[in-house]
């Protein structure tokens, strides 16, 4: 997750806004998808599902954001590899949800990049007047 976030920050992974969220594709390698909630009071742009797939569309990682207004509901992480699943399950049991937090950080970064891009485009347009 950290690598994806770093490469997004460096601009090496470019995210495209879609109907239901964001998607990025690393040709011949990975496909990354964020599905966002259309409506939410908790956060105006809450992500619901984050999925990583390989080039053959096999699911490698799926993180579900079960965050609700009521405290107590824990998010869910599903991974393709058995050993990693055990490791992640162990991390989840510690109480903190590092994977979910990492995905939220990535989502926030994408949102900030999109907003920044929009403002920059608006400034460029204003310059042309």
């Amino acid at each position: 997750m950290r690598k994806i976030t770093d490469k997004t920050r460096e601009g090496r992974i470019v995210w495209q806004k879609g109907t239901n969220g964001f998607a990025a594709s690393l040709p011949g390698k990975l496909k990354l998808v964020f599905i966002e909630a259309p409506y939410s009071l908790i956060s105006p742009t809450r992500w619901v599902v984050f999925v990583v797939r390989d080039d053959a569309d096999n699911e490698i990682l799926k993180v579900q954001n079960n965050t609700t207004a009521l405290p107590g509901a824990k998010p869910t992480v599903e991974v393709g590899e058995g050993k990693t699943a055990v490791l992640l399950a162990g991390l989840m049991a510690l109480g903190d949800d590092p994977v979910v937090n990492a995905v939220t950080d990535l989502h926030n970064l994408i949102l900030s990049q999109q907003t920044k891009g929009g403002i920059e485009r608006a400034i460029d347009l204003l310059d042309t007047i």
Binding site: N20, I35, A37, S40, L41, V48, T68, A69, L70, T76
Partner: protein, 185 residues
């Protein structure tokens, strides 16, 4: 001096030729019938799946209504029933779904699972109006996701195909040789 080329066919030769032609005709006819049958079966399966997803979307709206009325017992029962139905629908129609549909469907399941947990907690401690509103929003989200999938499944094949392939699709359909191919698969 070359004699003109000629062939003499007996009644057995003619019979063999006729049987051969008939066999070739039957082969292509069976192949076309099989393709057409598969096409019809898959179309019907897609229609059934679309109906199932639309039904689930309506149920998500019913759940939203019960939550709005603070009917927690009924809400929990309906949420649990939805979780079972969503798992069933996933198992039954996963073959029909495209990758993008699978992600959206996963989001719908996540929202309903989240609502179910929230209802369980709401039964212990009454939620605030804002918390109830968030639960309702999650039901609406799930309904929107499911309705979106239902809509895509109901969309005719002619619209699903890219514009450059429309003529080809129509020709193939007229010839009856088109095989079912969900888009982007």
């Amino acid at each position: 001096m070359n004699a003109p080329w000629s062939i003499t066919l007996g009644w057995r030769d003619i019979l063999n030729l006729a049987l051969g032609a008939l066999a070739i005709y039957q082969f292509f006819r069976n192949r076309r019938t099989e393709t057409t049958c598969n096409d019809v079966i898959k179309r019907q399966a897609t229609q059934s799946a679309a109906h199932g997803f639309a039904e689930m979307a309506r149920t998500a709206y019913d759940l939203e209504t019960w939550i709005g009325k603070n009917e927690w017992d009924r809400s929990l029962e309906l949420a649990k029933r939805m979780m079972v139905s969503l798992a069933e629908i996933s198992g039954t129609w996963s073959v029909i779904l495209e990758t993008s549909d699978t992600d959206i469907f996963g989001a719908a399941r996540t929202e309903i699972a989240s609502v179910e947990k929230s209802i369980s907690l709401a039964m212990q401690n009454a939620p605030t109006p804002q918390q109830s509103e968030e639960m309702r929003q999650q039901c609406i989200n799930a309904a929107a996701y499911l309705a979106q999938t239902a809509g895509r499944l109901k969309r005719p094949d002619e619209i699903k195909a890219p514009m450059k392939g429309v003529v080809r699709t129509l020709i193939e359909r007229l010839r009856g040789t088109k095989e079912y191919e969900p888009e982007n698969r």
